[in-house]
Every structure is written in C-alpha cells, then in structure tokens.
C-alpha cells in the first residue's frame, strides 16, 4: 500500500514538475478556441454542440498526454525498476494510472466548466456533462494506458497511441455523450442509467486494464 501511494505521488510530482498539468489544460483550451473558428461563432449552434465538442476535445487531449505515462520512465531506466518492486506489476501500473489521473485528468475536469462556457453550453446541461466526464475519466485513463504501454518502446508514439486507443474510446464516448444529456424533464437532473453504464465501464477497466497494461509492458521490456 505504501509503495502504491508512493508511486502515485511520484507520478503526480513528476507530472506537475514536468508541466503536464498546465500543458494539458492549455491544449484543451487551444482546441476549444479553434472550434468556433472552424464551425462559426453562432451561439445557437455552439449551444447545441457543446457537450459533444467538450467530450471530443477531452478525448483528444487525453490521447496527447498518454505518451508521458510510461515513456519518460523507459527513457531514464525507471521502468526496469518498476518490475523489481515487491508490488505486483498490475498494481504498479494502476498506481501510475491513478497518479496520471490526479495530475492531468482532474485539472482537465476542473477546466471543463470554463470550456463549456466558451462553447456556450446550456447551464442546465453542465452538471450532467461534469458527472459523465468524471465517471468516464477513469476508464479513459486506463484504456489510454493500454495504448501507452503497447507503444512504450516506440519513440514519438503520440499518433500511434492515439490510433491504438481510438477504438477503445468509441464505446466510452458513445455512452458518455448519452449520459451527458440531462434526463427528460430539463431540470438538470442527471441521466442515471447512462452514468451507470459509464461506472460499469470504469469498474471493468479497473479490473481488466491493469492486466493488459502489465502484459504489454512485459512484452516491451523482455
């Protein structure tokens, strides 16, 4: 447990010191800023599209941050040390993924309301969007970590990781968008069924993804 927490906090520290938090938020807002230039600044259109746009931008931002998860360790040799820890590799990667979640994904989630405002999101839709993103984020991080682990030995693997991870993200995105729509009634109540599915994905990812991630790391470093 101590090792788990130590690994997690180390990931957080490294991410923060490496500027990953600020860079991720910056990327999010870069993408959000580019959108109205592309699709036009008409507020009505943006209001309709806002939840979907936020989801897609979040996914792309996450994809972009993934290669820092394992590659930095590979480069300085720390990855080999992770194998030697008395903690199971599956838990080790879970600790790193949790750390990544804390240092990159949580700040992004906190930035979402501002991004939503920039895209003229319906205020009533914001709680549902936040809830859906918050529940979907763990599975996104874990699924992304699978892609990051598979391409760990490839240099400049951002594009490759994105390609590997895209089919895994599609179901989460579909159910995430569905969950972001407030349930009928329009009073801002959250879509419980949709959120339930996202939570289910999160649990399944929590149980299964570390196995795949650890296997991928072992395959990469043997």
């Amino acid at each position: 447990m101590r090792i788990f927490l130590a690994l997690m906090f180390q990931q957080v520290r490294l991410g923060w010191r490496g500027g990953q938090t600020v860079l991720a938020i910056a990327f999010l807002f870069i993408a959000v800023t580019l959108l109205p230039f592309g699709i036009g600044p008409e507020l009505r259109l943006l209001k309709e599209l806002a939840p979907g746009l936020v989801w897609v931008v979040m996914l792309l931002t996450l994809m972009a941050t993934l290669d820092r998860l394992f590659q930095a360790d590979l480069e300085d040799g720390a990855l080999d040390q992770l194998f030697l820890l008395p903690l199971a590799l599956e838990l080790v990667v879970l600790a790193k993924a949790t750390g990544h979640f804390v240092v990159v994904v949580l700040p992004l989630l906190l930035a979402v309301p501002l991004a939503g405002i920039l895209l003229n999101i319906e205020p009533v839709a914001l709680p549902s969007l936040m809830a859906a993103l918050a529940l979907g984020a763990p599975s996104l991080v874990l699924l992304g970590a699978i892609g990051a682990a598979l391409s760990v030995t490839v240099r400049r693997a951002t594009m490759l990781t994105g390609l590997l991870v895209m089919p895994l993200y599609v179901p989460v995105l579909i159910f995430g968008i569905a969950a972001s729509t407030p349930s009928a009634g329009g009073d801002g109540a959250v879509n419980a069924a949709g959120l339930g599915v996202l939570a289910l994905f999160g649990l399944a990812a929590l149980l299964l993804a570390p196995v795949a991630i650890a296997a991928a790391l072992r395959a990469g470093l043997r």
Binding site: T153, A157, I174, A212, A219, G220
Partner: protein
Amino acid sequence: MLKAVENLSAYYANPTRFMRLAGLLHAPVWGLALSVLVLGLYMASGVPDDYQQGATVRIMFVHVPAAWLSLFAYSFIFFASVTALVFRHPLGHVAARAAAPIGATFTFIALVTGALWGQPMWGTWWVWDARLTSVLVLFFIYLGYIALWQAIEDYGQAARAAAILAIVGFVNVPIVKFSVDWWNTLHQPASVSRFAPPALHPDFLYPLLVMGLAFMLLFAALVLTRMQMEVLRRRALIRQGARHV
C-alpha cells in the same frame, strides 16, 4: 480430437515442416480459390435484376462476402495471437501478421462497395448507422494493429505487443458493435432495412454462398502465401546477419 490438433500444430510449429506443407498446398489452394471465385462471379452475373434495385444489387455479391471476411479475418488474428502468446506457437505471430493487411483490405472493400451500393440505393455515400460505424471502427483496429507491427523494431517485441492488442481489440469489437447499436437507436432511427440472409431467394442465396466460399478460399491462399513470404524474408535477413529480423 484436441490432442490430435495439439500434435498436429506442434508438428508444424517447425517452420521447415510448415514450409514443406505450405509448398504442397500452395498451388491447390490458389487453384481452388480462383476457380470458385470465377464460378461465383459467373453465378452472380447470371442473377436476375432485382425489381427494386435493378442491376446494382450485384454489388451485394462482393460487399457481403467482404464484410463476412473482415470479421472472420479478425477472429483468425485473435486465435493466432492467442495460440502464439498463450501456447507459444512460433507460427502464430507469423499467421496473425500475415492476415492483418488482408483483413484490412476486405474491410476496406466492404466499406467502399457499401458506399457504391448506398449511393444509388439510399441516395447517400455514407450514413452513421450502427453497422457502418462499427465496421469503420474495425477498420481502425486493423490499421492500429498493422501500425504497431511496423512501429516496433524488434520482431519478438512487436509480435507480443501486437498479440496483446489483437486480444484487447477482439474483446472490444462486440462492445463497439453493441454500443454503436445503442447509439444508433438513441439518436437516429434505422433508415435501412437489413435483409436476413436465410430469407433470401435461392437465386440470390446460392451465388452469395459461393462468393462467400470463394473469398474464404482467397483469404486462405493469401494468408498461406504471406506466411511463406514472411518465413523466407526472415530467413534471408538472418542469413545476412541483420540485427532486427
């Protein structure tokens, strides 16, 4: 039965023995594949025009078997990867890598012929309904798989990583299918009526089945040939003393 399969696969795990068997099978499999293909095309050309779709219905005889093969090829890759990773069969990786571009091509053919069929029939090249979207995602899975093989320099490492990706992707394919189905019914009603093959008139069913068999044999011939090529390529590289095989 299982023991027989085990013994057989263990016997042919030796690449030399495999190459000998492949060499014997090469001409017959290709001959059979091409003749069944010619037969299927002949039968398809003789099919009467559909009262609604006219002659464009003939695209079905390429489109549907291609779609069948796109899924079959991925299942093949999955089983080959499991065989290689779990049972450590050396030819499993070779088989999976050989099948990937073929599966991707069949998927691409399915998508393009579908678009060509859709334009006269539905009035649009593309629509984001459940089936099209999930086949498009399958195409991306193939691309990712091929890209991973090419990106990693070391053969053994690439093989293992690709095998893991194939297994993860195989689990994901039904999830994608199911979730896109759900998304489709949530956001847009299906404007396309699928015909169920068993309900197809024999005039259309038999050419379709023959074309399906032809594509399957074509797949077998292509995978066999590519496996032979892969073994030969690696042998040549080893003889040259290359570092990354």
